[in-house]
């Protein structure tokens, strides 16, 4: 019970402090924080359409945030969800336009499956195996793989095999059988939200109620003890990265089939990075991931409304996200001020340091 209260109170305090610092910034630059924040809130939740769009923005964040939470639980830090998202997007779109004459449910299912496998292998094979075999640090390898994935997508779209006829670097549109239905008319909210919520429940179940989850958590808490208990530590590190990548890939697939319907040439979706913040704020709890994802999605959708209504640049919301990370990372801040020695574990539960 105490743990549950802490799990909710700590993030709320972090959000509260960050929002207040944001307000201070607005006052210093001559804006009215109450007016701006109410515009932000209305923009995010004020109407059925706004709320639906906020939820739609939360979908990829929930899915990739879940993936990052799984790796944190296993003591690993997957910083490359962005690239895994791109791998999933590419695979889903490719299945979406190239596989014909499949019934709708099967077509969507196939696209999901392939994108999860592709993105899972992207995270599992190179970062997973190099971590397990030679101890290459996954923060660096997942980041490097992320950039390789993004350049691969440029290659595919800029005159490459996935480019649609014409001069614009974009893929063909997916077939109607591969589209995810829209839940609320005139918004971007698709059945993807149901996929995301179901994934959260499944990840919760796997992490806390299955042997696999128990083993992953044991590896995360103490790899040496896990090894003595007969757990194959290397295998579970690879598995954690695979699951993580698969979830980020699913995020890309849901976004492609539900919202974009084709792949555009761009440098970043931004979801992969925000997903890290989501997992941190949620303290890696799958249900908390849903709430944290909705919070950051609301900052993104509401931020635009705030800029239009009150003139406060929407980039303020990124500053708020950054401050939240500092506060969550420094969760031992309170104990420093109380002159007690801080606890020695940290969020990524990475005790070995940067053994690259």
């Amino acid at each position: 019970m105490k743990k549950l209260v802490q799990g909710i109170i700590t993030p709320l305090i972090a959000i509260g402090i960050a929002v207040m610092i944001g307000a201070l910034g607005m006052i210093l630059t001559g804006h009215d924080p109450l007016q701006a924040y109410s515009a932000l809130f209305k923009g995010a939740f004020g109407s059925k359409v706004n709320f639906a769009n906020t939820l739609a923005n939360a979908v990829p964040l929930i899915l990739s945030g879940l993936g990052i939470a799984v790796t944190f639980k296993a003591g690993l830090f997957n910083i490359g969800a962005e690239g895994q998202y791109w791998m999933g997007s590419m695979a889903a779109v490719w299945i979406g336009y190239s596989v014909t004459s499949l019934p709708p449910v099967l077509h969507v299912g196939l696209a999901f499956l392939v994108s999860m496998i592709v993105a899972g292998l992207w995270a599992g094979i190179i970062p997973g195996l190099t971590k397990a075999l030679v101890g290459a640090h996954e923060v660096i390898t997942t980041m490097m793989m992320s950039y390789i994935a993004i350049f691969l997508s440029h290659y595919m779209l800029e005159g490459g095999p996935m480019m649609a006829p014409g001069y614009t670097p974009q893929s063909p549109v997916i077939l109607p059988t591969a589209e995810l239905g829209i839940l609320v008319e005139r918004t971007q909210l698709s059945w993807g939200i149901i996929v995301a919520l179901a994934a959260a429940v499944i990840v919760y179940w796997v992490i806390y109620k299955t042997t696999l989850g128990f083993r992953l958590r044991t590896v995360g808490l103490n790899p040496r003890a896990a090894k003595y208990a007969g757990i194959n530590v290397s295998l579970h590190m690879v598995l954690a990265l695979f699951i993580s990548g698969a979830l980020a890939g699913l995020a890309g697939a849901v976004q492609m089939l539900g919202v974009q319907h084709r792949l555009y040439d761009s440098f970043s979706s931004g979801y992969g990075y925000t997903a890290i913040v989501v997992a941190l704020l949620a303290n890696n709890n799958p249900i908390g991931v849903i709430l944290a994802a909705i919070f950051f999605a609301a900052l993104a959708t509401g931020g635009q409304a705030m800029q239009i209504a009150s003139g406060v640049p929407a980039h303020l919301t990124e500053m708020i996200s950054g401050i939240i990370i500092f506060l969550v990372a420094a969760k031992e801040l309170g104990s420093v001020f109380r002159h007690k020695p801080p606890l020695k574990h940290n969020l990524a539960e990475n005790k070995g340091g940067m053994k690259v």
């Binding site: 910034g25 630059t29 830090f77 910083i79 190179i126 190099t130 030679v134 290459a136 640090h137 923060v139 660096i140 390898t141 980041m143 490097m144 793989m145 950039y147 390789i148 350049f151 691969l152 440029h154 290659y155 800029e158 005159g159 490459g160 440098f267 990075y273 890290i276 913040v277 941190l280 640049p313 980039h315 303020l316 919301t317 990124e318 500053m319 708020i320 996200s321 950054g322 401050i323 990370i325 500092f326 969550v328 990372a329 420094a330 969760k331 031992e332 801040l333 420093v336 020695p341 801080p342 020695k344 940290n346 969020l347 990524a348 990475n350 340091g353 940067m354 053994k355 690259v356």
Partner: protein, 309 residues
């Protein structure tokens, strides 16, 4: 086709220009990590340097004051990073992420607040190019290093100075000692926290200078997220260069060459995007030991408590 391009000095001049904003933050990361603090915040600190360089240059109408202001702001954000990671002992990768997101937001917010939505003023003075009297007349070499931006020459000097400082001075030895074995260094009377602050702040100033090169060296303006991943490439260059100044420069030149080559090859059959993947793939290979194994300082990433608690 490629051979022809290789014989042109323009390609090599571009290589050095492209390598500079990678080499500087890679050098910065080297100082930070040699002292035992994992630094992925170079990307964000570059943005801070790039923005405040333009701001102070515009306000003072003097690009050198802009450079100085950028170094001060880069040090300040590094102080924040050092306080969270050294004093509080917070996870260094997570705080680094936080700095990157915060800095991207802060610089974009200030850009819009101070200069509106139309970009920074056109009359902002930029840092000058320097042409070296005798060297610029040497055939082939002259066009490559005879005339470059002043920051490029600063970078080359800083690499040499950093190497001397880290490996041939007492202070450099102390920085490396706290990154390898803080307990032993502490026993020998070295203030571990002070050395780590020094490493992080020097790292911040060098990253900031890399940002200044982008905004005041190559251009005279700031754009949102203009570091566009160079801080992360610098991280790769630092690792590929085995946490040494000359290694970082070498890796930065290799990565800069890949970028310059990919621009030259645009419109030919060879995909620029595939060439641009190479630095990242090489870094993974370096980590696995397939091309000369890279090993981090032993205590890199481990917070240190002087009281042993």
């Amino acid at each position: 086709m490629i051979i022809e391009e290789l014989a042109k000095p323009e390609l090599w001049a571009a290589t050095i220009a492209m390598a500079t904003p990678i080499a500087l933050p890679a050098l910065g990361g080297t100082f930070s990590e040699r002292s035992g603090v994992v630094n992925i915040a170079m990307e964000g600190i570059m943005l801070i340097g790039a923005f405040f360089g333009v701001l102070f240059s515009y306000l003072s109408n003097n690009p050198w004051i802009g450079l100085l202001g950028a170094l001060v702001m880069g040090s300040l954000i590094s102080l924040l990073f050092a306080w969270f990671t050294v004093n509080i002992g917070a996870d260094q990768v997570i705080v680094g992420m936080g700095i990157n997101i915060f800095a991207a937001g802060l610089t974009a917010f200030l850009l819009n607040t101070i200069f509106g939505y139309g970009g920074t003023p056109r009359e902002t003075p930029a840092l000058p190019n320097i042409s070296l009297p005798v060297i610029k007349d040497i055939p082939f070499i002259g066009p490559i290093i005879g005339e470059q931006n002043s920051v490029v020459y600063m970078m080359l000097i800083l690499v040499i100075v950093s190497h001397y400082f880290l490996f041939h001075t007492n202070l450099g030895l102390r920085i490396r000692a706290v990154g390898e074995n803080p307990q032993a260094a502490d026993t020998a009377g070295i203030n571990v926290w002070r050395m780590r602050y020094l490493g992080v702040i020097l790292g911040g100033m060098l990253s900031s200078l890399g940002g200044v090169y982008l905004s005041l060296g190559l251009l005279n303006s700031f754009e949102v997220n203009m570091s566009s991943g160079r801080g992360y490439i610098a991280l790769a260059a630092m690792i590929f260069g085995k946490w040494t100044p000359f290694g970082s420069l070498g890796a930065a030149l290799l990565f800069g060459f890949a970028m310059a080559l990919s621009m030259v090859l645009q419109g030919t059959g060879i995909s620029a995007n595939i060439i641009q993947m190479l630095p990242y793939a090489l870094t993974i290979l370096a980590l696995t030991g397939l091309v000369g194994r890279s090993t981090a300082p032993a205590a890199d990433g481990v917070p240190y408590r002087p009281d042993g608690k």
